[in-house]
Amino acid sequence: MGMNLTLKVWRQKGPQDEGRMVTYRVEDVSPDMSFLEMLDVLNEGLILEGDDPIAFDHDCREGICGMCGMVINGVAHGEQVATTTCQLHMRHFADNAVITIEPWRAAPFPVVKDLVVDRSAFDRIIQAGGFVSVPAGSAPDAHSVPVKKDDADAAFDAATCIGCGACVAACPNGSASLFTAAKITHLGLLPQGQPERDSRARAMVEQMDAEGFGGCTNTGECTAVCPKGIPLDTIARMNHDFLKASR
């Protein structure tokens, strides 16, 4: 009772090469397979035929490392809400479906190969200020500063970002606002993050712009595809802190 599928996959040999969509058939796919396992099966076949298997990023395969990610039928991580590509299962597809698979598309995320993109721009945004400066061993007792539970919970919601980049992939403007705002919100809500709050917001937003991401026009596509449901008010918070810091 396996499913038969037609895949249209973006193939690109290297960063400088031209890419194109290539069509594959996969047969007898179990509905219990994950999307990546379905690709594994296709790849095993390609290897044996001496073809280049489809390169894609993945590691944890349980929705937490943020390594996987592809645009499936026009939707980042596929249409299943709050789900990473690795946690998407084939039972959500119809038999004989045609599935298009593309890499994240954004100038600051150049394609490395096939579905693999370079997301180091995210690391550089964090480098600009996504931290609290506290050398090991210099910390006061953990209970010396209580944190309101509401703040701690809201900070946590923002902190769950896995850095996958789906927000950028989905944003009509190619904006990295949700990712950047998530970190600004996480640290900005905690007492420990206060001393660097202004400089952090300014530096991170400036780095985001310098990387070539687009601007946010509040279309909300990012939250809708975000596997961790990072809320849109993080962006309001980022704007607030940024405007305050820029005054």
Partner: protein
């Protein structure tokens, strides 16, 4: 973007209120138009304040458009290669996705509108008609297509603002998770009021309530 947008919204609110004066007859409307020009007299000379308003408005429109264009250009640069599959909106809300087209329509409309009711170039009442005459003649039933164009444009304005209004709060960092629902509701109500407020006038003219 948000600041200029907000200025334009304030103008629209005032403008709508003014337009509604046409229901009180030619006198009231023309007096209102005249008032616009004599505002502040004798402290400031005739038309100075109005001109000031016009300058601010023009600047806002220009800046607003400039930000819109630069945002669009950044967006294009940020995604040089498009997706092959048609991207499906996951956020819903078509209003958010027609901001640029909406804006463009509004722009075209304003040009026409100025030629029509301010300068009277395309208006049967001509350059020297009183504002009230321009209004009544411009929306005469025989010129139903003008009215239709206005309706379309005003609906566009409504849609633009339904997103734009709460979006401005978001952009200015004044929104929070708890304020989204009320904000969006307010945006929807204000847009609806504006649309209705603007539309009753041409429609009233067309069906002869105002003549």
């Amino acid at each position: 973007m948000a600041v200029t947008g907000a200025i334009l919204v304030l103008f629209l609110l005032g403008h709508m209120a003014g337009n509604l004066k046409s229901f009180f007859g030619a006198e009231a409307f023309n007096t209102y138009a005249e008032f616009l020009r004599t505002m502040g007299e004798p402290l400031v000379p005739r038309r100075v304040l109005l001109t000031l308003v016009e300058v601010v408005l023009t600047a806002s429109v220009v800046l607003h458009m400039w930000s819109a264009v630069s945002l669009a250009r950044r967006a294009r640069k940020a995604r040089p290669v498009k997706y092959a599959a048609k991207r499906k909106s996951q956020a819903g809300g078509y209003a958010t996705h027609i901001m640029r087209w909406g804006g463009l329509t509004i722009l075209l409309f304003v040009v026409w509108h100025l030629l029509d009711l301010t300068f009277g170039v395309v208006n049967p009442a001509g350059w020297d008609g009183t504002p009230y005459e321009k209004l009544v003649e411009g929306f005469a039933p025989s010129r139903w297509w003008v009215t239709a164009f206005y309706v379309l444009a005003v609906v566009m304005v409504g849609l633009h603002l339904r997103h734009g209004l709460w979006s401005a709060f978001q952009t200015l960092g004044l929104a929070g998770s708890r304020s989204y629902r009320p904000l969006k509701a307010v945006a929807a109500v204000v847009s609806a009021v504006l649309v209705l407020g603007f539309l009753v006038v041409p429609v009233a003219v067309m069906i002869g309530v105002i003549k």
